[in-house]
């Protein structure tokens, strides 16, 4: 069933990529937490997705969009911050805490430099999309999606610093939406996710071609998005920075 997922935010969300957080990535992360917790509870081990050559696909409560040639992706978009959202460059700093090191190591070298080497300080930008709410579109099971998202209290980068705090989730069925568009396009008609060319052709044939996209480039097709096995040449979502 086509649906709309909305997160009401305290301030905004910090993101590294020039497009929003993918709903399937978020759901996979929430489901992985559950899987990991049950493995630990059962006294079993688990392998991190990035440490295996061919990571398994979790059974997400989303429809699968089959693009042909065996390629497929979940029918869900990346977040759309709305037309009024603005990007702000915040800065985070990391500095070596010598006292903390003394607590965690029994012997330390005489000098640990905070200016060079692996412990050098950082002064890094983090790009925050300031917006009161963000929206995803998808095709899937709204109840199970709500169940998975309910414990998620923050999204994006720098969550420990208060970025991406979620006040509430709102998941609503949207039967009026075309399932093909709901799985690929933002509400403004721009491309909403990393998409194989075959899907773009299907959108064109269905009379709803993406109005804007982010060009073509190497990107992940489905979670875990950063895994090298998931990287392929795709049409990229419309960029947050225009």
């Amino acid at each position: 069933m086509p649906l709309v997922v909305r997160a009401h935010l305290a301030g905004g969300v910090a993101q590294g990529a020039p497009w929003g957080i993918a709903l399937d990535g978020l759901l996979a992360s929430a489901m992985w937490q559950e899987t990991k917790a049950s493995a630990i509870a059962a006294g079993q081990g688990y392998a991190r997705a990035m440490e295996v050559d061919d990571p398994p696909d979790l059974d997400l409560p989303l429809a699968r969009c089959r693009a042909g040639n065996g390629a497929w992706h979940w029918a869900a978009t990346c977040l759309w911050p709305g037309a009024e959202a603005q990007t702000d460059a915040h800065v985070w700093m990391g500095k070596l805490d010598h006292r903390d090191l003394e607590h965690v190591a029994d012997r330390l070298p005489k000098i640990i430099s905070g200016r060079q080497g692996r412990f050098r300080g950082r002064r890094m930008p983090v790009l925050v999309t300031s917006t009161p709410q963000v929206t995803w579109r998808a095709v899937g099971d709204p109840d199970r999606i709500a169940e998975l998202l309910e414990p998620v209290r923050s999204i994006g980068k720098k969550r420990g610093s208060g970025e991406g705090h979620v006040l509430s989730w709102e998941i609503s069925a949207a039967p009026e939406l075309d399932p093909l568009a709901a799985g690929h396009l933002h509400p403004d008609g721009t491309l909403g996710r990393t998409t194989p060319k075959a899907c773009v052709r299907r959108l064109e044939q269905a009379g709803c071609p993406p109005t804007v996209d982010g060009g073509t480039g190497l990107a992940g097709l489905r979670p875990p998005y950063m895994h090298p096995a998931r990287q392929t040449r795709l049409r990229l979502p419309a960029l947050l920075d225009g």
Partner: protein
């Protein structure tokens, strides 16, 4: 290729252009002319703002001087297009000197950027990307070099210029001192191998560079505009190789990931640790 970028509100660079230049540009042009007459040589052009000003000053007195671009193999795509267009527009005597190994080959080969790869001793990045191409350019064009290196960029560069100025002989009567000495003798670095570099903008501030570029309407590398639109602060607006070991802990790759996501993903396949700094 873009010239200036007047956005809404106050255009700071236009304002910088209005400030009266406090440099004796005639003197600097005469020094460039004398430097190239004495040593011959070339202008080192990276596609960045500083070497653009050095190139523009040089063109006014020696328009046919060879212009050398040291290609690291990891330049922004916009930089390569920009240099090609600029060479065409300004009819530059451009010579592209590729490094014998690309920066990516060196970085992927030494294992530093991949936790899973064994560490291997490989060639030094600076040696392959700068020293060797510069030596080739000197062999081809002569011992002289005009470059856009500035003191303000790093302590090392400031020290190199300061030491070189201290070592300069002055045969003027009376002997130059203070600001006069800096203007007449500063910016010249004579190396032990006999090559001599002259930095016409060696003691310029960043604001002076932008002011000069805006005042003269010089065509600017579009990478600057893109980085500025993304929100990158002045110090992060760099157009040199996309990846090297500089400014890692100041978020250099955050801007790369944001502005060039497809390229960043490709680079991460070869250099997975890039993501630790984005």
């Amino acid at each position: 290729m873009t010239t200036t970028n007047p956005g809404p509100g106050l255009d700071v660079r236009a304002l910088q252009a209005l400030l009266a230049p406090r440099r004796d540009l005639d003197l600097m042009r005469a020094r460039i002319r004398a430097h190239l007459d004495t040593c011959e040589g070339y202008v080192a052009f990276s596609g960045g703002k500083d070497s653009l000003v050095a190139l523009h000053l040089t063109r006014q007195v020696a328009p046919h001087t060879p212009v050398a671009f040291f290609d690291s193999g990891l330049e922004f795509p916009e930089t390569v297009d920009y240099i090609t267009e600029l060479a065409d527009r300004w009819r530059l005597n451009l010579h592209v000197i590729p490094a014998r190994l690309t920066a990516l080959e060196i970085m992927a080969g030494n294992g530093t950027w991949d936790h899973r790869a064994p560490t291997r001793h490989g060639p030094d990045l600076h040696q392959v990307l700068i020293t060797e191409p510069a030596a080739e350019a000197h062999d081809r064009f002569g011992a002289g070099e005009v470059w856009g290196v500035r003191s303000q960029e790093s302590r090392g560069r400031a020290a190199a210029y300061a030491n070189a100025l201290r070592a300069q002989d002055c045969n003027h009567t009376p002997a130059c001192d203070g600001r006069d000495r800096r203007a007449r003798h500063g910016g010249r670095i004579a190396r032990v191998d006999g090559t001599v570099a002259l930095g016409p903008v060696w003691d310029w501030t960043t604001e002076e560079i932008w002011g000069y570029i805006t005042r003269h309407g010089l065509p600017l590398n579009p990478v600057y505009d893109k980085l500025r639109r993304l929100g990158a602060p002045e110090h992060a607006q760099r157009v040199s190789a996309m990846v090297d070991a500089n400014q890692l802990t100041e978020g250099r790759f955050t801007w790369l990931a944001r502005g060039w996501p497809g390229l960043f993903a490709e680079l991460c396949l070869a250099l997975p640790r890039l993501r630790e700094y984005s």
